[in-house]
Every structure is written in structure tokens, then in C-alpha cells.
């Protein structure tokens, strides 16, 4: 029999923290080994037996001393049972080798990546659990960047600097904001839906999607606030616009949804917001467009990063992405596309007035915008691995509603 470990509780009662000292001593002892404990708390004599009983240890001897008691306890089998059969769920630091596994098991559930997970945890059913489909090594960096780049709508935008604009121009701004709000609503809902399905093992992706949803919440706020700055009502929401967004929300596949939303939709929005910033009739609209574009660029970067990785590992991905564009195009073939109100508003903003030469120039600028959008899409498609010709063809099939 090895020498018993000894712990003196002094006058600390077992119920006021003394159990931690005893537990530590038992933990350090091996299974079946003995620990001697002494203490002078008046209740120690009556607390030791129930504590041992509840913890599965055996109280071998209890001797009254003056003052207090001295006892001998044999460590039971139950201590440490939660560690037996437990497994390490990867590693918290994503850059470590084997930190992020290809297919995290359901049983890891909500456990922190890197935690030691007790056997017998409930199954959660996170269906988005394939590293190839969701992961990018850039996720940590993009998340850090996203958190650092958060801005406060109350102070980042010069709300007091909105001059009175001609009615038609102000109407155009309000219509564009109305259009942007519903698009950003779709862009909020989509990542939020995927967060709920994503295995929390892919922590950085989960965090990034959460910030993405929060970005969109802020965008909805500032677009609404700009629209109501000088008006009491918002503009028109069209059936065609919503039909286009409905096809986005209907997409259950993460890769395809991310492709349609982030790469094609938000990618196209980068050009649109750039256009709005350049032709903004007032400093508030300029700031709103500039700040939201910055966030959107990050969303596009994440979409590109995980899809490039995914495409590199799964040769079947590019044909699936192409088919998704074609399917969406077919689904939208009989809808109106971008509503007249939005396209007219863009033209008017770019023109600045109803003077015919200005309108001609505005039209030319909108044509340039459309060409820029197309060029951006083609460039991203090529980066994903599509041949130039197919990129051109797929870009042309992108929704006329931009998002």
C-alpha cells in the first residue's frame, strides 16, 4: 500500500470550498489509493460521509481529534470517469496541424474546438459538416479584419450634412435605398440560415458568417435612415426584384448559395455601391455607399476564398456552380428583372439633372456600370477556375436584379 496523501483543511468547512482541496488530493492520488484528511471545522465530521457517498469514495475511517476530525478516504472509481473515453475535438488554434478536421463528428456538438469532449454528448445534427464545403484558411484573418472594421452608424456617417436635393433626385435616392434594403435583408437571412446548420467546429467560419449577418443588419439600418432623412415614406418594392431574391433564399446548398450571393450578387453590388459613392448627390449617401461597400468586399473575399479551396478539392464543384447560374436564370426568365424605378434612379443620379445632355451622360455612366459589373463577375469566375469563355457566358446569365 503506497503512503497516503495528506490534506489539511484547517478550519475550512467542506461546504465552503474545502471540498476542492479534498478533491484535488483525491485527483492526484490513483484509483483505490487512500487520502488522509484532517480539519477543525465543526461540521466536518458530519459532512465527510455524505460527500464521500455522493462522490463515490469510501470513507474508511473517521476519528475525532481535538479539535476536529481526521479521516481516511479511499478514492473511488467514479472520479475521472468523465475523462475516460473523452476525445479532443481538434485544436483551438486553426493554424495548428490537424486543428480543423475534415468531418467533425456530430457528438462534438457545441463543444469548443480543442475541448476535451466527454463521451455520450447529445447529437445535434449540424448538417454543414464537410470542411471542403465551408472552410478557408483565410477565415481567421478575415474574421479579425471584420471585427476591426466595424463602424458605428451614429458617428461614421455625417447625418447632419444632408442638403435639400431636388425632389426627383431625392426620390431617386429613396428608391435606391428601398431596393438596397430588401437585397441586404436577403444577404442577412442567408448566412444566418447557414450558421444554424454549420458545425461549430468550423468556428472562424461561423464567426465570420455571424459578423456578415451583423454587417447586413447595420446596412439595413443606414439605408433606412438615409431614405427617411428627408422623406416619410419608402419607395417601391417590385415583384420581379423579390422573385430574384427568392431564388437565392431557396438555395439549400452552402457552396451554391455562397456563390450566387457573395461572388455574383455581392460582387456585383461592389460595382453598384462604387457607382453610388461616385455619383452620390450628398455626403450622407456617399458615406453610406462607401462604408457598406467596404463590408461587402469582405463578404466577397470570404466567398471567393472558400470556393477557390473547395473547387481545388472537388472537380465537380465548377459544373455545379455553372448549373446553379443557369437554373436561376431559367427560373427568372419570365420576371421583369431590375425594376424601372431603380434603373431610372441610377440614371438620374448619374445625370444629376433632367437636362438632355446630362441624361445622355447619365445613361453612358450606367452603361459603364453594367460593363464594370460584368467585368468584375468574369474576373471572379476566372479566379474560381472557369475558362474565359464560360465565365463570359455565365456572367451574362446573372440576374438583371444585380443581387
Amino acid at each position: 500500500m503506497p503512503e497516503s496523501a495528506f490534506v489539511d483543511l484547517g478550519d475550512l468547512p467542506l461546504g465552503e470550498g474545502g471540498h476542492l482541496l479534498l478533491k484535488r488530493a483525491l485527483w492526484q492520488a490513483g484509483a483505490g489509493e487512500r487520502v488522509r484528511v484532517s480539519g477543525s471545522a465543526s461540521t466536518l465530521a458530519v459532512d465527510l460521509a455524505p460527500w464521500c457517498r455522493q462522490q463515490g469514495h469510501e470513507l474508511l475511517e473517521l476519528v475525532t481529534t481535538e479539535p476536529g476530525v481526521s479521516a481516511t478516504i479511499a478514492r473511488g472509481q467514479a472520479l475521472g470517469a468523465r475523462h475516460r473515453g473523452a476525445e479532443r475535438a481538434g485544436h483551438a488554434v486553426a493554424s495548428r496541424p490537424d486543428a480543423v478536421v475534415d468531418k467533425p463528428p456530430e457528438r462534438w456538438g457545441l463543444a469548443a474546438r480543442g475541448a476535451l469532449v466527454e463521451a455520450g454528448t447529445p447529437r445535434f445534427g449540424f448538417t454543414l459538416d464537410d470542411k471542403d464545403a465551408v472552410w478557408t484558411d483565410d477565415a481567421s484573418r478575415l474574421y479579425a479584419q471584420a471585427v476591426a472594421a466595424q463602424w458605428d452608424p451614429a458617428t461614421a456617417i455625417p447625418w447632419a450634412e444632408a442638403p435639400a436635393l431636388p425632389d426627383a433626385v431625392e426620390d431617386a435616392v429613396v428608391q435606391l435605398m428601398t431596393y438596397l434594403i430588401e437585397n441586404e435583408t436577403a444577404a442577412l437571412i442567408l448566412p444566418a440560415r447557414f450558421i444554424a446548420r454549420l458545425h461549430p467546429h468550423f468556428r472562424e467560419v461561423m464567426q465570420l458568417l455571424a459578423v456578415q449577418a451583423a454587417d447586413e443588419a447595420r446596412h439595413i439600418e443606414v439605408f433606412t435612415r438615409r431614405a427617411l432623412l428627408l422623406r416619410s415614406e419608402l419607395g417601391l418594392s417590385t415583384a420581379g426584384g423579390q422573385a430574384s431574391l427568392a431564388t437565392l433564399l431557396d438555395e439549400p446548398d452552402f457552396a451554391l448559395a455562397s456563390f450566387l450571393l457573395s461572388v455574383l450578387g455581392e460582387g456585383t453590388f461592389l460595382s453598384l455601391l462604387g457607382f453610388l459613392r461616385e455619383h452620390a448627390p450628398d455626403p450622407v449617401t456617399e458615406a453610406v455607399a462607401r462604408l457598406t461597400a467596404r463590408d461587402e468586399a469582405r463578404h466577397v473575399a470570404f466567398g471567393m476564398a472558400h470556393l477557390v479551396r473547395h473547387a481545388g478539392r472537388d472537380p465537380a464543384l465548377l459544373p455545379r456552380l455553372a448549373a446553379a447560374v443557369e437554373r436561376r436564370h431559367d427560373a427568372l426568365a419570365n420576371t421583369a428583372g431590375l425594376n424601372d424605378e431603380v434603373s431610372d434612379a441610377l440614371l438620374l443620379l448619374a445625370a444629376g439633372s433632367f437636362e438632355p445632355p446630362a441624361l445622355r451622360q447619365g445613361h453612358a455612366r450606367v452603361m459603364t456600370l453594367v460593363a464594370d459589373m460584368d467585368a468584375g463577375r468574369r474576373q471572379r469566375l476566372v479566379r474560381l477556375g472557369f475558362p474565359e469563355a464560360q465565365a463570359e457566358q455565365l456572367s451574362a446569365l446573372h440576374t438583371r436584379n444585380f443581387m
Binding site: P13, V46, A49
Partner: protein, 282 residues
């Protein structure tokens, strides 16, 4: 007589977790070849009566329910057996607490005082501590006032609420002493119901045992045998049963024994606690 295919167990629903526990065990028994089901009762008296009437094969009984079952069976010429119990059902004690600054230094000094107890049918928080005082010469209700804290009568003190109320009454000064099971002294200290250095242990009962699985001599022998065998084989190392064992408050099932109910037997004899029940069941 052919044996039934399914073993039916009775338990008292003193808490919603009872469903989780027995559903879990039922699922664990099935692949081990034991068809098992359970019936819940709202009070032990109903469960004992149902058991006597043959509605169930095995009952998860409180110590008082064990004595009710054993004595009612004996009156009918039948025999009850405790087939298994938790490791935590063995060798419990109850404490009679006073405030640390109380002038009461001996049991005799409780004469004329108010003693807080748990539910009137709680072995651990009422019957056994009152027996301890009675055997020390202080007759409840005659020599001192018994202040009951009834929580869920019929559940034999399984619910912790009555004991906690007794402990609170002690702290508040509405009673001069309070009776609790030893484990609850620790629990009430840890949760702060009993303040640091606020109470003193005036007396401690002798050791006694708590719940058991009870069968009568006409129980389906092979089903009961398999049930007992499976209970005893459960390991805290098994991640499937571990949460159920945690909920039921044990680390290991052990064989049953009945010596630990002697003191409670004396208590009910002395106080007539189950006389009306026995008269009713005949």
C-alpha cells in the same frame, strides 16, 4: 403461470426528471434483452396499493414505502424483498441543527422549543430525527413543538423543498432547531441557504438506509433476476448510463438489504405513522 414478457416497474413522480431517468433506463435495458416499462404514481401510498394489487412487478420505494409494502404484504401472508439499492442509499444519517449562537447545548434543552422538520411523511427530515429525540426522552408534540414544512405530501420527503424550508426557518429564527439529512447540510451550506458558521450540529441519528427496489414473492422471477443483474452491471464509466446515474444520484447500484430500516420501523411503531394506511389496505 406463464411469466409476463415485460417487467413493469412503479416509481413516484416527485420531479419531471423521473421520466428522463426511466425512459433512459428503458432504452438501455432493451438491447440487453430486458423488456421493461414503468408506471408513475403521484404518491407512494398509491404505488404500494397498486403493487399489492399486482399492477406492477417491482417498485422503486422510499424507505417508508418499503415498510408499508413489507407490513401490508405480511398481513396477507406474503413476503417482500429489497432486491437492489443505490450506493447512496446506504448508511445515511440525519442531523438536528441549531443556530451557532444558540444557547442550546444538549438534546434535553430542546424541551419546550420549536423543532423544524420536513414533510410529515419524510423519514429523513421528520420521522427518524423525531425518533432520535423521542428515544432520548423528548416526546414530539408533548415535550417540544414540531413545526412541519410540508412539501408534496405522499412523496415521503423525496422533494428537497421541505428540508430547505426547515433550514430557512432555523436561519430566520422561527424555529430553534431544524432536521435535515446529512447530505443536505452540505448542499445547503454550498448553496448558501445555511450561512457560513451559522449553524451547529446538536445531534446526529444512527445510520439508516434509504430507497430500494421492492418485489413481492409472486414477482416474475426470471425477469426480476435479469433486471437486478443488469442494474448491478451498470458502470459509471458507461457514457450512456452516466447521465442517468447522475440524475438518480448514484455511482453504482448495489444489492438490497433491509437492516437499515430498523430505526424507521421503530419510528412508525412509536408514532403510528402508517397505521391508517395499513388499516385502509387491509
Amino acid at each position: 403461470m406463464t411469466e409476463p414478457r415485460t417487467l413493469i416497474m412503479g416509481a413516484v413522480a416527485y420531479d419531471p426528471k423521473v421520466v428522463t431517468i426511466w425512459e433512459g433506463f428503458k432504452a438501455w435495458f432493451a438491447p440487453a434483452g430486458l423488456a421493461f416499462d414503468y408506471v408513475l404514481y403521484s404518491n407512494y401510498e398509491a404505488q404500494v396499493q397498486a403493487h399489492l394489487a399486482g399492477h406492477l412487478h417491482v417498485a422503486w420505494n422510499s424507505p417508508l414505502a418499503w415498510l408499508q409494502a413489507e407490513r401490508a404484504a405480511a398481513r396477507r401472508g406474503r413476503r417482500a424483498e429489497a432486491i437492489a439499492m443505490r450506493d447512496t442509499d446506504r448508511d445515511l444519517t440525519s442531523l438536528i441543527l441549531v443556530r451557532a449562537d444558540s444557547p442550546i447545548e444538549s438534546v434535553a434543552q430542546l424541551s419546550g422549543k420549536r423543532v423544524g422538520v420536513g414533510a410529515s411523511d419524510s423519514p429523513q427530515a421528520t420521522l427518524l430525527p423525531l425518533l432520535h429525540l423521542a428515544e432520548a426522552g423528548l416526546e414530539p408534540h408533548r415535550d417540544f413543538q414540531v413545526v412541519e414544512h410540508d412539501a408534496l405530501f405522499g412523496k415521503h420527503g423525496d422533494h428537497i423543498g421541505g428540508e430547505r424550508d426547515a433550514a430557512r426557518a432555523l436561519v430566520a429564527g422561527t424555529v430553534e432547531a431544524a432536521c435535515v439529512i446529512d447530505g443536505n447540510h452540505l448542499a445547503f451550506t454550498r448553496e448558501g441557504t445555511l450561512p457560513s458558521n451559522g449553524v451547529r450540529v446538536l445531534a446526529q441519528t444512527a445510520k439508516y438506509d434509504h430507497c430500494n427496489f421492492t418485489v413481492f414473492d409472486d414477482a416474475p422471477a426470471s425477469l426480476v433476476s435479469r433486471f437486478r443483474e443488469l442494474l448491478l452491471s451498470m458502470s459509471y464509466d458507461d457514457p450512456v448510463v452516466r447521465p442517468l446515474l447522475d440524475l438518480e444520484g448514484l455511482k453504482q447500484w448495489t444489492v438490497g438489504r433491509t437492516e437499515g430500516y430498523a430505526a424507521l420501523g421503530r419510528a412508525i411503531d412509536r408514532f403510528g405513522s402508517i397505521d391508517a394506511f395499513l388499516a385502509q389496505v387491509g
